[in-house]
């Protein structure tokens, strides 16, 4: 600590250069914080309104291939399955494609049997939903986002499902709101609209009687793996073989349809830090080169080689860690914006630890070449400007 004032003063020897270097590191860590947070959200998805006691059964070969609704009865008959319901991917958006809506056609009774302990729907809203064929229950956050009210008509455009008249536009009536008891799940629900499967199945002009996937609640979560095998065994060698997995695994598989997001994010970060390494490393080299006579004076005064190395490493560490902290803090400040852009994705602040780890590593790599040069400095040559 006693060297801190000296290191701090040295860092600000050329203010403009230090400010630009700090800014470049801050931006890199801001990007790191944002991308790492998004990557973590995709790699470890919350699973929406699904807990550890939930299984999801899809077509064995692709989640884009449907399954017959009739399979529900066979799944319900598997020992250990407490409740089963079915959902189909609607692929909806509101007005513009950027306004993605996770609209799900549900079988009301079975759906709320599976999720009865997790969702909040008022009795009045539920009653109204049951009585309205075109009724829709809309997540409270989504209602607020678009300024919708109960009683509004809600037109949603489906990217997949045409109606009998060839239209892709479906009309719903908002009859109530939907919320989750767990705040983390509430975030995952934030773009959800639930509507009747019967209305959807009657209205669509293909795929009748089919569903996208089944969701099951099981009696014993510890038996999930065994239950999955048991369900899949029922449909083995049938025209519609299944793949059953825990809800969280399903969410991840769903996301991976879009490609390996983690790889893409890491490739971007790799390029950013590779460039940063050279830019900051070069700046640090230049800075130490300019200070060789001063470093020689320190050695003359009795500063040992190791102490001089420590001063250079300390300067680099202060620069990188300080900038990383600012960058990461800014990235966390940006979380609400990201959450708005990635509806339904739960974000965490876990980028702190890897972020600071990278900052320390970066500081060491940047400091080593000039630090070793400073350490090996010959005092006589340096004082005589022959370095």
């Amino acid at each position: 600590m006693k060297y801190l004032p000296l290191i701090w003063a040295t860092l600000w020897r050329k203010k403009i250069r230090t400010i630009f270097t700090l800014a470049s590191i801050v931006i890199a860590f801001l990007l790191f914080g944002v991308l790492e947070t998004v990557d973590a959200a995709f790699t470890h998805p919350n699973g929406g309104a699904s807990g550890a006691d939930k299984l999801i059964t899809t077509n064995k070969y692709s989640i884009t291939l449907s399954l017959p609704l009739a399979d529900a009865q066979q799944i319900a008959g598997v020992s250990g399955v407490v409740a089963v319901t079915w959902i189909t991917w609607f692929g909806g958006y509101y007005q513009e494609s950027k306004n993605f809506i996770f609209a799900q056609p549900i079988d009301t009774a079975s759906y709320f049997n599976v999720y009865k302990d997790e969702l909040i729907v008022s009795d009045a809203a539920m009653q109204s939903f049951l009585e309205t064929r075109t009724g829709a229950l809309v997540d409270v956050a989504l209602m607020k986002k678009f300024g919708w009210k109960v009683g509004d008509r809600l037109p949603l455009h489906s990217a997949i499902w045409t109606q009998k008249d060839g239209s892709l536009d479906w009309i719903f009536d908002i009859v109530g709101t939907l919320d989750a008891k767990d705040p983390a799940q509430a975030s995952a629900l934030s773009s959800t609209v639930l509507f009747h499967y019967e209305y959807f199945d009657e209205g669509r002009n293909f795929g009748k009687g089919d569903v996208g996937w089944f969701e099951e609640r099981v009696a014993d979560p510890a038996q999930s793996a065994e239950m999955s095998s048991r369900i899949d065994a029922v449909f083995a060698n049938s025209p519609n073989e299944t793949k059953t997995q825990p809800a969280k695994d399903f969410a991840m598989a769903f996301i991976k349809q879009y490609g390996d997001i983690g790889f893409v994010l890491r490739a971007i970060l790799g390029a950013v830090f590779f460039t940063l390494l050279f830019l900051t490393g070069n700046t640090m080299m230049q800075s130490v080169k300019e200070r060789i006579p001063e470093l020689a004076v320190l050695k003359t005064l009795g500063f040992a080689d190791g102490t001089v190395l420590m001063l250079v490493v300390g300067e680099s560490m202060l620069l990188c860690v300080l900038a990383a902290l600012v960058g990461l803090a800014l990235s966390f400040a940006a979380l609400p914006v990201i959450r708005g852009a990635l509806q339904g994705v739960e974000l965490s602040r876990d980028a702190w630890i890897p972020g600071l780890g990278i900052a320390v590593l970066l500081a060491l790599v940047i400091a080593m070449p000039p630090g070793i040069r400073a350490m090996r400095l010959n005092i006589i040559d340096a004082l005589a400007d022959r370095h």
Partner: protein, 230 residues
Amino acid sequence: MTEPIVSLRHVVKRYVRGRQAVEVLQGLDLDIAPGEFVALMGPSGSGKTTLLNLIGGLDQPTSGELTVAGQRLERLGSGALSRWRARHVGFVFQFYNLMPMLTAQRNVELPLLLTSLPAAKRRANALAALTLVGIADRANHKPNELSGGQAQRVAIARALVADPTLLVCDEPTGDLDRKSADEVLHLLQELNRDFGKTIIMVTHDPKAAEFAGRRLHMDKGALLAAESAA
């Protein structure tokens, strides 16, 4: 007889430049007693700065025995030599060599960072050293806010602050006008006379050398006749 604080026996310093070996110091023998103020004079390339560097522990002899403050310097490794310098030698350079981003007080504190003194004590000692050289009122000024004479006083305070055994001065007045040079030389003389500091000073300036108690002349790596002050 008092044990010399600096003792050289057959000291040779040889540099290899390209394929040629150049003998800068040719078997020097020299004793300097504690409390002496010695001026080293001679033309450029005579070897006086090399000799000063050896005595200050910045370099080591190629052969011979070099004992300073009771320590055989040619036997010390790099780390031990650094520690020895921090404890025993204060350096004053021609161009002051102060850290431009630190205040005068912080510059003077630098050698004390190598001690176990607490921060408050370091600050107090630095201020005391600045007071001793008559520049305490400039403690919070940076080097670029000081005149040449003031900057050299700060450098002398830095050299003194850890209470070294000897002061090694390389052309301390070489960058100063006559008036400032005389002030600095009077200061060195006071430090020698009143505080018993041993001072070894390289200079080209015969007037500066007159402030020393003994003047040594060098030429081509050898010591010529010595003369004492009248």
